[in-house]
């Protein structure tokens, strides 16, 4: 085993590095979006790319999200691999028709002759004090759209690895970047041959025996924190980071819940019609006779995302997770 030099970086930096490496490796990779050029994106994720690869490879588009995604479709039809940046979650909505009616379906419509290797980067979620329309968790819409992969990293290393995998994928990938983790820091080595993560595999971030917290993206660190806090109350919680919502890693999730017998799904997105329902339902289908309690959900409320001064009441935090764990019918335990 060779020793690899680890370097500290933020998630935003890891994403930039992933884009840069992908562009260097394959001239077909083009970045386009609003303010991705000279400005380097409002979150600076495309910083330096226009300078290094030229404006034809990293292009400031007119402000029109359907136009951005629609032209990316045409570019992909001609063999390019566009990486599109949607500036904020809610500003991807104008592109939904292109996404649902074309991006997700083109391969299928054409019996596989016209795949669309498009990566759609969407900074998502709250916790950054953004005013309305800047903090939506829109993953439920993407999950309900067959033909898309839906991926979201929670660590610096995964940000790099999964984005590389997304760009390398011959299918469209909605790549959800948790805004409030952009500035999270960690040590990681992009030259590690294992740096590129296959899409579709969940990972157990913390092992435990009492119950499983199933989560992804911005809620992963919160769940890890909750697991630490739970230790003090005598619960040994396992934390599964899904990483990929589509495809869904049933095996990893079900194996964990079969071990622990209890589960809570945690996400920031609204609960009703959100990802948690799907996850709880499929876990229950697979682990029914192992479950000591129904799979519970801790999610954002079913309300439009709150204004900055109230968002802390909305976001699933440690206490709310622990409350749910407490409701997992421990009395039933013999």
């Amino acid at each position: 085993m060779t020793t690899v030099a680890l370097r500290p970086a933020t998630m935003a930096q890891a994403l930039t590095r992933a884009l840069r490496d992908a562009m260097a490796a394959d001239p077909a990779v083009h970045v386009l979006g609003e303010d991705v050029g000279a400005l380097g994106g409002v979150f600076r994720v495309t910083d330096g790319l226009a300078e290094e690869f030229g404006e034809d490879r990293c292009t400031d588009t007119p402000l029109a999200e359907a136009g951005i995604l629609g032209t990316a479709v045409g570019m992909a039809m001609y063999g390019l691999r566009p990486v599109v940046e949607m500036q904020f979650d809610a500003f991807a909505y104008p592109a939904f028709e292109q996404l649902i009616s074309h991006v997700a379906r083109m391969r299928n419509r054409t019996r596989g002759t016209m795949p669309l290797p498009i990566t759609i980067r969407v900074p998502y979620g709250g916790g950054i004090g953004g005013v309305e329309h800047h903090s939506d968790s829109s993953e439920a819409y993407y999950m309900a759209t067959p033909g898309l992969h839906v991926v979201t990293p929670a660590t610096v290393a995964d940000a790099y690895g999964l984005l590389r995998a997304a760009i390398a994928s011959d299918d469209p990938v909605v790549f959800l970047e948790p805004k409030r983790l952009y500035w999270s820091k960690d040590s990681w080595n992009p030259e590690d041959p294992q740096a590129v993560e296959p899409i579709g595999r969940a990972v157990v971030r913390r092992t435990g025996r009492s119950a499983t917290l199933i989560t992804y993206g911005p809620s992963v660190p919160v769940c890890l924190e909750a697991a630490e806090a739970a230790q003090a109350e005598g619960w040994d919680l396992e934390v599964v980071d899904l990483r990929s919502l589509v495809p869904f890693d049933d095996d990893t999730v079900a194996a964990s819940v079969r071990r622990t017998g209890r589960a809570v799904v945690v996400h920031e997105s609204g609960g009703f019609g959100g990802p948690g329902g799907e996850i709880a339902a499929r876990v229950t289908e697979r682990c029914f006779h192992h479950l000591e309690a129904p799979v519970l959900r801790v999610a954002g409320f079913d309300i439009p995302y709150p204004p900055p001064m109230l968002e802390r009441h909305h976001l699933p935090g440690v206490d709310r997770i622990l409350d749910a764990v407490e409701r997992l019918q421990w009395e039933a335990e013999s």
Binding site: H30, D56, T61, P62, A64, A66, G67, L69, G70, T71, A72, V73, G74, M75, A76, M77, Y78, G79, L80, P82, P94, E97, Q98, S101, H102, R105, M106, R107, N108, R109, T110, R111, G112, T113, M114, P115, P146, G147, H149, S169, D170, D171, G200, V246, P247, F248, D250, D251
Partner: protein, 382 residues
């Protein structure tokens, strides 16, 4: 900091950054649709081209008639006829080189066929056995597009990509008058102009969007006038005059090919049939209007010109007619064969590799089908 400090110096000049980005004059379309047939310009038209157009129009009309008949015979789920619009459909196909790309809407199977696509493949969507019946790369024809105007940004992106790669490729995108109202029309034309992409937009203004007449769709002087707002030239042409449409589109394609950027062409034409076989046009328009347009029929216009100039005799007409009948007979025969379908195809192309979830569903359907086949064999069933 006080207000006074913030304030700038005095310079009563015009706003510093402003200058017209383009001279709008050359972008504006003429106020009358451009015509060739029946005018003096016709004398300059290439006889070979006119004869070719004639043969294609006759074939195109026959194709429309045949496809409409196939709906009545239950062989097509639906058919949006381009009867009356054949000059546009045919010219759109003929002005392109092999390496160029065509972006048709649901109404434009004829353009795809005129470009060389097998008519049966072109009709697959409307027969209902699959969504797209052909490999788009083969004849460089994008999938027939149903969501209005959404194909336009695709054409722009493809043309832009080709230019970035240094390839000499032009994209021609078709859209209806109604489709110009969609946001995607706007965004596509804007991107095309900003990127100077080699793309030509052909609006077939056939007077209606299903039942909605043009006057409820736009208040613009013409749809071609929209071009100026994007900084591209707008051209207005008689869409039933095949020679005129061919010339205007050829010019636009050449302009794009030379790096001149996009053009918006409005072809004024008319939808002689109902929106589709499922539509009842009598609910929103009278016969009289249709009749005025029948008198401006694209085939009649061209036939008259060719006959007047001695370029077409009865034999020539018969030859075109016979070729059209042969195509129709072949189409009829092949469309009367049931397509062979495999339900497992439902899972084959959703992703490059089916997800584990799709694999499970695939297995379940396979088992169901096997059980069904067994039950059928045993003459039982639930």
């Amino acid at each position: 900091m006080t207000v006074m400090e913030q304030r700038g110096a005095y310079r009563p000049t015009p706003p510093p950054a402003w200058q017209p980005r383009t001279d709008p004059g050359p972008l504006l379309p003429d106020m009358r649709p451009y015509r060739v047939l029946g005018t003096e310009t016709a004398a300059q038209a290439d006889p070979a081209l006119l004869r070719r157009l004639y043969a294609e129009l006759v074939r195109g009309r026959r194709y429309n008639v045949q496809a409409t008949a196939l709906t009545k015979q239950g062989r097509l789920a639906v058919y949006p006829s381009s009867t009356g619009q054949e000059a546009c459909e045919v010219a759109a196909a003929l002005v392109l080189e092999e390496r160029d790309w065509l972006f048709p809407s649901y109404r434009d199977t004829l353009a795809a066929v005129a470009r060389g696509l097998d008519p049966v493949q072109a009709l697959t969507l409307l027969r209902g056995d699959w969504h797209t019946g052909y490999d788009p790369h083969e004849h460089r024809v994008a999938p027939l597009c149903t969501p209005l105007a959404t194909q336009l940004p695709h054409a722009v992106g493809l043309a832009h990509a080709a230019r970035l790669k240094g390839d000499d490729v032009v994209a021609l995108a078709l859209v209806g008058d109604g489709g110009t109202s969609e946001g995607d029309f706007h965004e596509a034309l804007n991107f095309a102009a900003v990127w100077q992409a080699p793309v030509v937009f052909l609006v077939q203004n056939n007077g209606f969007a299903i039942s909605v007449p043009l006057a409820k769709q736009t208040a613009a002087p013409s749809l071609a006038h929209k071009a100026v707002g994007y900084g591209m030239p707008g051209r207005l042409v008689d869409g039933n005059d095949a020679a005129a449409v061919h010339e205007v589109l050829s010019d636009a394609v050449a302009h794009a090919r030379e790096g001149g950027g996009p053009t918006l062409v409005e072809a004024v034409t008319y939808r002689i049939d109902a929106h589709t076989n499922a539509d009842d046009a009598t609910r929103y328009r009278g016969d009289a209007e249709v009749d005025t347009w029948r008198a401006h029929d694209p085939i009649a216009l061209l036939e008259h010109e060719l006959t007047e100039r001695g370029l077409l005799d009865e034999d020539g007409k018969r030859a075109a007619h016979d070729a059209a009948e042969a195509m129709a007979a072949d189409l009829r025969e092949r469309m009367h064969q049931d397509p062979v379908l495999d339900p497992m195809d439902l899972f084959a192309h959703v992703y490059a590799e089916p997800t584990p979830q799709l694999r499970e569903q695939q297995d379940r359907l396979r088992a169901e089908l096997a059980a069904g086949a067994e039950a059928d064999a045993e003459g039982t069933g639930r």
